[in-house]
Symmetry: C3
Subunit: 342 residues, 3 copies
């Protein structure tokens, strides 16, 4: 692809500040500038790196103080950057239809505009919507329902009865609908509590590589519209993840938790079972959440508490070894004072 | 399915307290009661939620104080609940035999009563017992041995020479028998220590989605009968996991650890290598176990110690920032006292 | 295999101290000695365990004080042990060529000396080098490039455009090249930042079961030559992992981190985004790295700091509950002193 800055600016929602007829053919990162490519700078100081590379334009904010380059100024420059990446790198979509080596059960309903890859399996009673791409090795279980324009990357798995909305992306190795972890200890034996519920995922959800979402014991484990979940996250049975929630890599959420809309959980955080995290709350990396978190609050630490407190405690802990010495000295002084007095 | 409470009570090991001829057709959760369904209540107060829903019966303890409903009273109500779920939701079992798109090596031994799904692969010398179901995309490596009535969910993997007992469940994405992590650093190169042992899993074991159990360097990594392991658990080479052990999600166990019978490891706990955890010990969530844990003890924290100590320390840490101020004040008072005395 | 100790010693780089014509047929662990087998002892005291078992020889250091056995003395005994395991347990290599049930795109380039397993998929434009083994269920995406003598274990996944050097091992469930985790929040919607870069893996790299390495937003996520990565590790987009780095199980590394050559990250450690860890640095188990780590330093704790400090703090924390009592007592004494003085 090779377009004028004028054409590009229109596609991105930006304005050209410079030569609108200059041509751009791609996007490159600032540390490896390429001739004819567009560079996104969120820090104007990085413009130094671009000198002499012949970049087509710099994508920046309305007010960035950058000279010596054609500029694409945008009100939302990071959004324009995302759009530029999509503009120059359209995702190739496989042709509709099932690969000769796909296994689609005769009683599955696969839309003619869906694409089913090699060695992908669609079981009896499953439904796959139009525009959806199931790549090679994907499994969709009995009576599962996959909406429109979803992308199921190679070797991802959706088990029986689970539901995906529209425009859902599952990355490789993701597993939707494995059994929740429930047993009754009876006479020295862990008797399994059958997990007969489902996982129901809204629309515009993205689920990372190796992430697992367990089906409910009864009823549904729910992932709300627009939630974005990174790699290797574990979500237990009967959880309810709100709309637009962000869950970073390697987070673990125990069973029956409720995560409010637009909450953010940073990497390796863990949440005990039956916890409620309020809307727009933020949970710090590696935090261990053992009690409910109010709306909009930032909690961190283990056990997690208000982030400011956790920071104060961590700071105080650093002083603690010296404090032990100080206290010893003080104790001796007081002893002396006592002795003198006596 | 639609049965009288009398029939159901017999199946569950419960007694009817109410209309034994009333009919039930399923189980529903208390927060979403459905007409004609049975509800399990472990807290009698929840009965309020059921008013007017027309539930068939409430499953509860022998002594629960609940009125206005048919009751199914059980000595072990949670066990009866598990049985009720199984009763109304029998797991459909695929027909025996290999799918036309399964790949079974001619020198593998697959019992006529086993079921092998589409794109599942059984390698040379492997053995699959009667009643076992290998779903689509499952891999069973050379000379692996899978017992009777096991369930290997889609896209799970058992590598060469590994052994599964009877009634073992592997969830999707589980990997049994990948190489242990062992190298010798020699002249700037990490030389691999070949991992030539096996994983040997007992009977009635359940292994969660995305969980990985590494093969031993020499000899066996062992998972005892009745152990239940949740999703995304990592178990290193040469570990010995006891009978009936419970390991919750995202736990990591380094190499050569011994976990005693019926020990419980909560979510995201980690265990250093060569550690022994005693029988019936409990390890708290996110704990980091760096030394042996005696039988029956509850350890938590990082580094893990007796839970009571860890709790006292966490409580004291919360007071530490204020304590720093107190200590400063005290120091000034003592200085004054010293000055006065001088 | 059955060889004289003389032959074996030559293969391992060791010398025979004893009967050079005695024969050995395998390697066994010291806790389960077998007749005719070689045992590696790094602690001479373990020789007690071997009495009467008829082991062929003990592999040990040049100076180990062990009597009553044939010895294989090596300058690097652990290296010789690794070689002995490889010597007696050669990895069977499947015949070259594609299984009848493999799916190789006509426009993929698969070397005649590569081996492609059942239900493995090689997409358009991909390249697979000589001697490489792709086991069953492996996926290699469009335009991916796999070098020579690599081993891709069953159900591992390499996505589009990614590059593996020579002698790379991917264990089952590993996912190379899933999308990095990047969004722009715009008017209540998380807009995806397309991830159009690659993952580029050097030679002699090993990647564990269930490990995920995300592709770069732009440019490359890089894994250096000889890096060894354990199971269930998560590596974010745009990271640069150095040569010979060791990453243990369940570690999580956020986006845009740089890990210096031969650094070691212990189990369940986490690294915040945009962090640089210096060459040969060591990160303790469960550490949370939130700021840069200098070359060669050992950091631990959360937030991670110099290990000695972290240890002092942990030790001090254990004394803190008693210290609170001491401080109370001291405060009362000072109060008394003040009163007396007044």
């Amino acid at each position: 692809m090779n377009v004028t800055l004028q054409e590009l600016a229109e596609a991105l929602g930006a304005d050209v500040d410079g030569d609108a007829q200059a041509r751009a053919q791609g996007v490159c990162p600032p540390h490896a500038p390429m001739a004819g490519h567009v560079v996104f700078l969120d820090k104007p100081g990085q413009a130094e790196m671009l000198k002499g590379a012949g970049v087509a334009a710099v994508l920046c904010s309305r007010t960035a103080d950058i000279t010596g380059f054609n500029l694409l100024r945008a009100e939302y420059p990071k959004l324009a950057f995302a759009r530029a990446l999509a503009f120059f790198n359209p995702t190739p979509k496989p042709a509709p239809g099932a690969h000769a080596r796909a296994c689609v059960h005769p009683e599955a309903v696969v839309h003619a505009q869906a694409s089913i890859g090699a060695c992908a399996v669609v079981e009896q009673g499953a439904h796959v919507g139009p525009g959806t791409v199931m790549h090679a090795g994907v499994y969709v279980g009995p009576n599962a329902h996959i909406g429109e324009n979803c992308t199921l990357h190679p070797n991802s798995t959706v088990l029986q009865n689970c539901v995906l909305g529209d425009r859902v992306t599952l990355h490789s190795g993701a597993v939707i609908g494995a059994d929740g972890f429930g047993y009754v200890l009876h006479q020295g034996e862990h008797v399994k509590v059958p997990q007969v519920g489902r996982v129901v995922i809204g629309s515009d959800v993205e689920i990372g590589a190796g992430t697992t979402v367990d089906r409910a014991t009864l009823g549904d484990t729910v992932i709300g519209d627009g939630a974005k979940i990174d790699n290797q996250v574990q979500i237990g049975h009967n959880c309810r993840i709100g709309r637009g929630v962000i869950i970073c890599g390697s987070v673990g959420i125990s069973g029956s938790c409720t995560i409010g809309d637009y909450a953010v959980l940073a990497g390796q955080a863990g949440v005990s079972d039956h916890i409620t995290i309020g809307a727009r709350a933020i949970i710090g990396g590696k935090a261990g959440v053992t009690r409910d978190v109010p709306e909009g609050k930032f909690y961190s630490g283990m056990p997690a508490g208000p982030h400011r407190d956790a920071m104060r405690q961590a700071g105080a802990l650093q002083k603690l070894p010296d404090l032990l010495k100080d206290l010893d000295a003080l104790r001796k002084q007081v002893e002396l004072l006592n002795k003198d007095e006596a």
